[in-house]
């Protein structure tokens, strides 16, 4: 699934990221960054309700190229600046975590390689 399709499905707003052709093969929804680091195996889309620079740091360490903030959370300038510096796409959606994950799963993003 291409990132532009993720944007459409979640009715998300892209705050940073020009590569909407990026291929997303799986996703991980978590507010705990250590759990993301413990269990995610492949490059994925990260969905989170946590708004902190550490979300971008975690994505950087994990080679995660795209992050969606759920529940309408909007990251501050410091987070966007860090994401821009690291080349990590940032989006925000009003969908809550469960619904956002459900919509993506239903569209075929089944988490292969994550668990």
């Amino acid at each position: 699934m291409k990132l532009e399709e993720v944007v459409k499905i979640l009715d998300a707003t892209v705050l940073f990221g020009s590569d909407t052709e990026m291929e997303i093969v799986s996703a991980c929804g978590s507010d705990l960054m250590s759990d993301v680091m413990a269990y995610v195996k492949e490059n994925v889309l990260l969905l989170t309700g946590l708004v902190s620079p550490q979300v971008i740091r975690t994505a950087e360490m994990m080679d995660i190229k795209a992050v969606v903030f759920v529940r309408g959370k909007t990251p501050g300038e410091n987070i966007l600046e860090l994401a821009t510096e690291k080349g990590i796409a940032v989006m925000t959606t009003d969908n809550p975590m469960f619904i956002a994950c459900g919509k993506l799963y239903n569209a075929g993003l089944t988490g292969k390689g994550v668990w």
């Binding site: 507010d31 705990l32 960054m33 250590s34 759990d35 680091m37 413990a38 989170t48 946590l50 902190s52 620079p53 550490q54 979300v55 740091r57 975690t58 950087e60 360490m61 994990m62 080679d63 410091n78």
Partner: protein
């Protein structure tokens, strides 16, 4: 890169998660530039990042000393914190002494040390109550 040894030193700030991870980020960049296998880079970056976060949230800050040779990376993260009274418990997934404030920042889930063990090829922990903790992470290339 022959047998040249690269030595790096970083200061780790205390209780400020805004900048936590800068040392690990810098080390990751160096490893990528050296052309190290991305899977190895990721292992080293995650293990060091968890150690750096621990030094910030539990350890009152500290320092990271990193050595990179052709065969491995060794990252030594030392802090000035309270030390770990029960290392066996601290190594258990989910066991945590972190404050609610730390948990609100997405950490303190009791996965720090277990994650270091998961990703490091070798993990040494030297801790003394009242003095601090030093973790040494080795990842072979």
């Amino acid at each position: 890169m022959g047998d040249n040894l690269i030595k790096l030193h970083y200061e780790i700030p205390s209780y400020d998660l805004t900048y936590a991870g800068e040392a690990s980020s810098s080390v990751k960049k160096v490893l990528v530039q050296l052309g190290i296998d991305p899977a190895r880079v990721k292992k080293a970056a995650i293990a060091m990042y968890e150690a750096e976060i621990n030094a910030v949230i539990h350890g009152n800050g500290g320092a990271a000393d990193v050595e990179i040779s052709s065969g491995r990376i060794t990252a030594c993260i030392s802090d000035k914190g309270p030390g770990i009274p029960n290392l066996e418990l601290a190594m258990k997934e989910g066991w945590s002494t972190a404050s609610d404030e730390i948990r609100e920042m997405g950490f303190g889930a009791g996965m720090g040390l277990p994650n270091m063990k998961r990703y490091a090829d070798k993990l040494d922990i030297d801790t003394e109550v009242g003095k601090g903790t030093r973790v040494t992470i080795t990842v072979d290339f």
